[in-house]
Structure formats: structure tokens, C-alpha cells
């Protein structure tokens, strides 16, 4: 246990996700040893992020204005919406450079054991966006785990009757891997989602 400000800093750092007591102590002493201007840069960045960053009122992605840069981009298609769980998933899809539509961030996945139901996610906002008839396809890009699959099932059941095409990201073999090391669940899905390549 340290005294006063040092212990306060360790306690605050220790509350961050993935930072244990030892890591918190290491970071605190790194900051103590650092130059004043370096620490100020960190403080400014933290203050700035809290002051300027908010969630896009349309899609729920992180933004520095009322709407995020994807929603403001006039070159992107309004006919396709990619639904993801978290803002970081938007970044993952953007890295592919394959998708030129809009996004909708749910803010999580349905998980009854964690008390997260459909009402706790931004599903109503998604349905509102679909109401004007401009959207032709919704791509469900939730995580390929139990909660993500269940959320996709729920959304497909909700959106399907509206007459909008609902698609789910394919599951299958990772590029660069060996077939023999694939687990039977992934390999089974790869077989199910196989596509014709010739003829």
C-alpha cells in the first residue's frame, strides 16, 4: 500500500478492464517517472475523448458529432445496413474494404443469463431505420457464438416479414489454415455454406 496520490492512481488504473493490481502499479510508476509533457498529453487525450466523443444518433457508432463519419459519407449505399454488436466490429468490417453500405451498432447481444434482453439493445432504432423502405438488405454480422447466433435468429424473425432481404455472415475456415485442424463445428458450417465455383 502506498500513500495518497500514488495509491489513488493505482486504484483508478486497477479499475480499467484487463488491468490487475500489479499492472496498475507498473503503469503508475511509469507515469511517475515520465516527463511532465508526456503525462499532460495523456491527460489531454483522456479529457478530449470524454468531451468530444459520443455515440452516433443514427447508427450507435462512436462519433465526434451528432452523426458518425460513415453515416455522413454520401458515397455509401443506403440500401444495405450491416448490423454489428459493438463499435469495434465496425472497424473490423471496414478493414475488409468490401462493404460500402451503412452500419447499425446494437450495443451487445441477447444474453438472458447476463440479463440482456432485446429491449436492452438498439433494436427499436434499427426497425425505425428500416421503416422508410430505402433499405433493401440487412447483413447480420454478430459474433459467431451462441449469443450472436441467437441475436441473429431473433432479428431475422423480426425483419423477415417486412420484406427486406436478411443475410448472415458466412462461417467457415480461416484463410491460411489447414483443413485437418478445423473443428467439426466450423468445418460443418463451411460445408453448409459452400458455393459453386465453376460451370
Amino acid at each position: 500500500m502506498y500513500e495518497g496520490a500514488v495509491q489513488d492512481l493505482i486504484d483508478e488504473l486497477g479499475r480499467l478492464p484487463g488491468v490487475g493490481p500489479k499492472s496498475a502499479q507498473r503503469i503508475a510508476f511509469h507515469l511517475l517517472a515520465a516527463e511532465g509533457h508526456e503525462v499532460k498529453r495523456l491527460v489531454d487525450a483522456l479529457t478530449e475523448v470524454k468531451l468530444r466523443v459520443r455515440f452516433c444518433e443514427l447508427c450507435g457508432n462512436v462519433a465526434e458529432a451528432e452523426r458518425c463519419r460513415v453515416c455522413l459519407d454520401p458515397r455509401r449505399s443506403d440500401e444495405v445496413i450491416c448490423v454489428v454488436e459493438e463499435p469495434k466490429d465496425v472497424v473490423a468490417v471496414e478493414r475488409t474494404r468490401e462493404f460500402r453500405g451503412r452500419y447499425h451498432v446494437l450495443g451487445g447481444a441477447i444474453n438472458p443469463m447476463e440479463n440482456i434482453g432485446p429491449d436492452d439493445l438498439r433494436i427499436k432504432e434499427l426497425l425505425t431505420r428500416l421503416a422508410d423502405g430505402a433499405v433493401k438488405e440487412v447483413i447480420l454480422a454478430m459474433d459467431p457464438n451462441v449469443e450472436g447466433e441467437a441475436t441473429a435468429t431473433y432479428l431475422a424473425r423480426l425483419i423477415g416479414p417486412i420484406g427486406i432481404t436478411v443475410s448472415r455472415l458466412a462461417s467457415g475456415l480461416p484463410v491460411g489454415g489447414d483443413l485437418e485442424y478445423a473443428d467439426e463445428v466450423t468445418l460443418g458450417r463451411a460445408f453448409e455454406g459452400r458455393r459453386v465455383v465453376g460451370g
Binding site: G18, I110, N111, P112, M113, E114, N115, G117, N145, V146, E149, A150, T153, Y154, R157, P174, G177, Y181, D183, E184, V185, T186
Partner: protein, 297 residues
């Protein structure tokens, strides 16, 4: 602490503390294998998960699945809730570590493809997690009951709400809180009776009936007894009204004996029965049979 653990295949007996040919030992072992049901998972660090298992021989076990959130993980897909697996674990100081996993019952996919099944299954997993509270204490009957219930749910032989209610009643029975829906739960007077009191453990006769007891329909009593006994020919033809009443009583029973609400129960989506209900014959109360290996409930 690790009594009765099955040594993993290929484990060096000298390192594990097992004499060659002995097979079982009370000494500490670095690796062990068990059949397990994945109850829940929590994210840990960058790409790991803490996985809570209900194992056949070692009861509830929490272990770290390293790197299982990466798409390149060799067994991440097998460590999802609802999966029944053959798992090899490395004994750790606080948490064990998953070293190998093989699929035994791949129920997750079938359950996730139907939202009603998913919500019912989640309530089952949460109930099992709560009922088997202590870690590393064998709960063999709870294991087989849950494995059978998940199999029944994934095969869609019965309505998901009925499977859930049947599982809950039987899981509570195994845990020592067996309800009675025919004989009086207090004095044992043969029924059927008209009143039900959750705190007394089920049906109560006119003499034992405490204030505040409910009076469900006679058909609801029959349905509850059928769910407890696994009489599916009776339960499957029950009326929607009685299913709803029965599920409310099962939820109240769960809350009373767990001393808290099962969070998943409020999200359970219950189907309306496709078949209109004919008259239901009376079913005598009997102790529920626990499904054997590979048997659905």
C-alpha cells in the same frame, strides 16, 4: 481435493502422481479428463474466456480457455454454452486451464436456431449453475438431467416451455426440494387436492392449507405431476391455459427455493401448443426418473 479425477490419457504417471497400472489415486494430478456441459462463458483479457462447466465427475468447474475467442482457435467453437464435451483440463492454482476438447453433444447450433429454444435453454443453464453452487463437488444426477434436457430441447420432441418446466421441477427434486402435486406435501394425505402452496412444497390438503395458498385448475395439477414424472404423453396434449398457469407456479417455486429470481426466466418465449387439448387423465405422483447416459428427458 481432486479425489476421483480421471487421469488424462497420455499423462506421465510419474509426474501425475499415479503408479503405472494403478489408474486411480488420491494424489494431485496436473491433468484430468471429464465429460462436461458448458454452462456459461465470460470474456477474459484479449482473447481468452473463463468457461464454467458442469462436469460428470467433478461437479462445477471453472477453467480458462486460452485464445478461444480468436477465429483460429482449435476448440473455441466447442466451448460454447449448451455444448456437451469431453474436456481435458490442467489443474491450476485458482482456475484450471482447458487443454483439449472433443464434442460429445453439439446442441448449441440447434438451440440457437430457434429463439424460444435459446431462451428456455439459457434458463436451464442458469438454474443448473445456481443449483450446483459449490465447485468441485460431484453432481452426477444434475449432470445427466441437464444433458438429457438439452438433448430433448435440441431435438424438439416437445414444446420448449414444457421441457424447461419439467427440467426445473426435476432439478429441484434432485437438489432435495422435490414437490408433490398429488399427495399433501405437508401431511402426505393422498390427493388429488385443490390447493397449492409453494412454501409447503406443492399440493396441500384442506387441513394443512395455509393462508395465501393458490387454487390452480385440476388440469394444472395433472400437468405439473406429469412434468415432474416425465409423463410426456400427458404433458404434450395439455392446454395452453394450464401450461401458462403451471409455468407461473414453477417460476414461483424456483424463486422461493433459490431465494432469488432466475434472470433468464423473464425472457423465456413460450410457444402455444399446436394441438388442442383433450381431457387429461389423472397421473399419480412419483419420484422422477433421472435420464441415463445419452437419454433425453
Amino acid at each position: 481435493m481432486f479425489e476421483g479425477r480421471r487421469p488424462a490419457v497420455g499423462v506421465d504417471s510419474r509426474r501425475s502422481g499415479h503408479d503405472v497400472g494403478e489408474g486411480w489415486d488420491n494424489g494431485p494430478v496436473p491433468l484430468y479428463r471429464d465429460d462436461a456441459i458448458v454452462l456459461r462463458t465470460h470474456k477474459l483479457g484479449e482473447a481468452d474466456r473463463i468457461v464454467t462447466f458442469l462436469t460428470r465427475e467433478n461437479g462445477k468447474v471453472r477453467a480458462v480457455g486460452k485464445g478461444v475467442r480468436r477465429t483460429s482457435s482449435r476448440f473455441g467453437a466447442r466451448l460454447e454454452p449448451f455444448m456437451v464435451v469431453d474436456v481435458q483440463l490442467h489443474v491450476g492454482r485458482n482456475l484450471d486451464t482447458v487443454t483439449q476438447v472433443e464434442t460429445v453433444g453439439p446442441y448449441a447450433r440447434a438451440i440457437c436456431e430457434d429463439y424460444g429454444l435459446y431462451t428456455a435453454g439459457a434458463a436451464m443453464l442458469e438454474a443448473a449453475d445456481r443449483l450446483v453452487e459449490a465447485e468441485r463437488e460431484p453432481a452426477v444426477q444434475q449432470y445427466w438431467l441437464l444433458a438429457g434436457a438439452l438433448r430433448a430441447l435440441s431435438e424438439r420432441h416437445h414444446d420448449s416451455g414444457l421441457v424447461l418446466d419439467s427440467y426445473l421441477l426435476r432439478a429441484f427434486s434432485v437438489a432435495g426440494w422435490a414437490p408433490s402435486f398429488t399427495d399433501c406435501a405437508r401431511c402426505g394425505e393422498p390427493g388429488p387436492h385443490r390447493a397449492l402452496n409453494v412454501a409447503q412444497g406443492g399440493a396441500v390438503c384442506p387441513r394443512c392449507r395455509p393462508p395465501g395458498s393458490t387454487a390452480p385448475a385440476a388440469e394444472t395439477f395433472v400437468l405439473l405431476a406429469a412434468l415432474l414424472a416425465g409423463e410426456w404423453d400427458v404433458a404434450d396434449v395439455s392446454d395452453a391455459r394450464h401450461r401458462k398457469e403451471a409455468s407461473g407456479l414453477v417460476a414461483a417455486y424456483s424463486q422461493y427455493y433459490l431465494e432469488r429470481t432466475l434472470r433468464s426466466l423473464r425472457m423465456v418465449e413460450r410457444d402455444t401448443p399446436a394441438v388442442p387439448a383433450p381431457a387429461i387423465p389423472a397421473v399419480p405422483h412419483k419420484i422422477p426418473a433421472i435420464p441415463r447416459e445419452g437419454e433425453a428427458i
